[in-house]
């Protein structure tokens, strides 16, 4: 049961060697910065969970991207993985600039002024979110013991961000917020990749980045269609599509 998934993954072995060339002092500081950024990412995730305004959500999402990109760059520096700089730049340009911009344009086009509606009330969502964070720490405990990476303690945070993204998609009614939830979930995955294994191979990351971009475009097209069909972006309306018997 203690199967260490990360060590079985093809990139898991050998990548940890990079940081031995740095002194312990450096490593210590790097781990501190890493943890700090992880905390900020988690904080923005919670922020998104409680944020009611769409603009606010987008800003929070952009901030999360900033922290993510910073974290990637630092991990890249510490581990001596220079391709991580490229993913860091990619993250910055895509998730901090491009995607928020697209979402902004969308919101302006569709004139979404309304505040975000939630299904479960906000304190309740917060409670569930906290439970998920605890659950994530519980889950990743065996991995933390086995790993010797400097970033190992942030794996739990990454998992929590993924789950909070999913939770956000569940609790919100609005299509735009669901997309932001999805993108936040993707952020969590990316964070998990960098913190658990010092990043995926560059090819994979490029692919993922492209995927996210294309997904954003497709969502944008869908928004227009949903909007024109139902005259709203409230996904509850789509329940009408259910096949009756």
């Amino acid at each position: 049961m203690e199967g260490n998934f990360w060590s079985l993954a093809p990139w898991g072995r050998g990548l940890g060697e990079g940081y031995f060339q740095y002194s312990d002092m450096n490593l210590h500081i790097a781990a501190q910065i890493n943890s700090f950024l992880a905390a900020l990412v988690l904080l923005t995730a919670f922020g998104m969970l409680v944020q009611k305004r769409v603009y606010g959500l987008i800003h929070l999402f952009a901030w999360q991207g900033v922290f993510l990109s910073l974290n990637t760059a630092i991990v890249g520096f510490v581990a001596g993985k220079h391709h991580l700089y490229i993913s860091s730049v990619l993250t910055l340009s895509l998730k901090v600039v491009l995607l928020p911009y697209i979402l902004h344009v969308l919101i302006n086009r569709l004139r979404i002024r309304k505040e975000v509606e939630t299904i479960v009330n906000i304190p309740m969502t917060m409670m569930i979110g906290i439970a998920l964070v605890i659950f994530s720490y519980h889950l990743t405990a065996p991995v933390r013991e086995l790993s010797n990476l400097v970033t190992r303690s942030t794996l739990a945070v990454a998992l929590a961000v993924v789950m909070i993204g999913l939770l956000m998609m569940i609790t919100r009614k609005h299509a735009v917020t669901q997309i932001i939830g999805f993108l936040a979930l993707e952020n969590g995955l990316f964070f998990a990749a960098t913190s658990a294994t010092y990043g995926m191979p560059l090819v994979v990351e490029l692919g993922v980045a492209l995927d996210v971009l294309i997904a954003a475009f497709i969502f944008g097209i869908f928004f227009f269609h949903i909007h024109t069909t139902f005259d709203t972006l409230d996904v509850d309306q789509m329940a009408r599509l259910k096949e009756g018997d």
């Binding site: 659950f135 889950l139 789950m163 999913l166 998609m169 569940i170 996904v235 509850d236 259910k242 096949e243």
Partner: protein, 681 residues
Amino acid sequence: MTASLLTVASWAVLLLLFTGFVSLLLHRRQGLMITVCFSIACVASALAIFAGFYSVSSGSTSQVIIAVGLPDLPFHLRLDPLAGFFMTVVGLLSLIVSVYSFGYVRHISAKRPVTRLVIFYALFLAGMLMVVLADDALFFLISWEVMAAASYFLVMFEDERVENRRAALLYMVVAHVGAIAILLSFGIMSGLATGFEGFHGYTFDAMRQAQFPPQWATAAFLLAFFGFGAKAGIIPLHVWLPEAHPVAPSNISALMSGVMLKTAIYGMVRVAFDLIRTFPWWWGALVLIVGLLSAVMGVLFALMQNDLKRLLAYSSVENIGIILIGIGLAMIFTSFQMPLLAGLALIAGLYHVLNHAMFKGLLFMGAGAVIHATHERNMERMGGLIHVLPWTSALFLVGCVSISGLPPFNGFASEWLTFQAFLLSPSLPSPLMKLLIPMGAALLALTAALSAACFVKAFGITFLGHWRGPHNPHIHEVNLPMRLGMIMAAILCLVLGILPTIMIDWMDKVPEQLVGTSIGQTAGAFGWMWLTPVAREHASYSGPIVFLVILSVIVVAWLLLHVRKGSIRRVPLWDCGFEKVTVRMQYTSTSFAMPIRRIFGFMFTIREQVRLDPRAAHRLFPGTIHYYLRVRDRFQVWLYRPLITASFRISRLVGRLQQGRIQAYLIYSFVTIIILLMFMR
């Protein structure tokens, strides 16, 4: 020589596949397309007959691996006596039906384009030949599906009617349930042959060389029996037959009933005798019991039908039953190490395969001719057609006599052989079998008698008496190619009945291959005139002598009636003292079957209502009487309806998961992830 036979057979398949393309090219010229395509089909069928016939008579086996198929899994072809025998059967009937189709399809093409019919006709024939040629599970299943899909589109040909679409769907469902069972069966066998890691056990050769543990062999056999049984239409999997056969074009029904059902028999024989080889006696007993049930119930259901083609479809269930009786007996005898009797029973079953292909093909072609001439499928509205369709009625009569098992036609020969196999069963070592098998013989006798009654009804109601239809339509005899096809089938029915010895001598290589014995030595010991299955003092039958006696009786009777003038007088019908006899007072199809419906009523779900006209002055003097009768298959009511209801209920329960809300779907995945993370940590 042997390799070239396989080449000839492959050419037949390629020609048929080629026909599909030709028909597409000639779509604009329907008349030319019919001529060209069915000519090619005739040539291909002749090639198949040639290859099949010689591979049986030479008893040779040839194999070839062709570099087509999935990577690393090439197709294997093989032509051995068993395959050759079925290839001959398929080829013979496809030749006859292709000749018939020249005329029949031309009639259809007057109303609608027939490109689709021609393409799938060619594919269907190619699929059947490929099934017989296949020597690995992969190619077999592909061919099997080609055959099933092609026949599905043929059943669907007149797809503007709801009943056709429903019938085709039902056929497709049953065919696929069967195909899944066959797939699983081959999966078990190939896995046990070379282990479940690789795929190299998929050839039949690997399965032949393997020794299967008994429980797995049983599972493989039962699955195969179920799967092939669904295609063959054994009871209770016969439901698609009476739906699909009536709605398909008649040349297609002839092929489906005549030879497609036989490919399923081929599959059963191939799996049991060739791939598994050693089996306990109860497998044979199971096949025998299912065969007996199908035979008796099939003919009883057939008797109750008013639709001519539906009647023929149920009669196919009966004949498949008779074939399975032969196969089942052969399996029992094989498991008790009695090869001579096993050979006899196998020959009986296979001979019936050939005979049924001929006479059922003939009957379906005849039914097609009748339906084409009258635009009517319901026998209750036919009658007196012997005056307007003399050729068709004479040929249909030949089919009826053959299927009723009357000498000198072929039905008698094979049913008589089956009886011989039954009557020799007391030599079995198991006392239980000794007791049970004679009861089977009694049931077979009952079947033969009932099927005679059934075809007296089919012929009598359709062709004799007076026209019952509402109007007096313009009916004329069908065109030459249709008659020619039927004549060929009728002649074969007669020849196969008169010369069983020669045919058995030819077929003898099949039991030699499968059970390691030949009965040709004893069966033809007294020359080609006498068929003596085991020994002369036991039983013997001479087709030619019986034929000559019957012929001379007919000639003498005809002469006695016609030499003297005035011995035939035509006078008005004696009306038993009634004032006026109308055509509505004739025997109808329903009234003819009434006694049997009363006796065997417990087998059917019958709803019978008599309603008097409520406006009548007195109950005893009703103005009009409405009689309502509905006879249904018990299996439909008992077995299939609960199944359908249950599947609907389950689907509705599952359908509740579909909320139509994205959040609900997300929650499903979220909860699943959480649970998996919790337990798989």
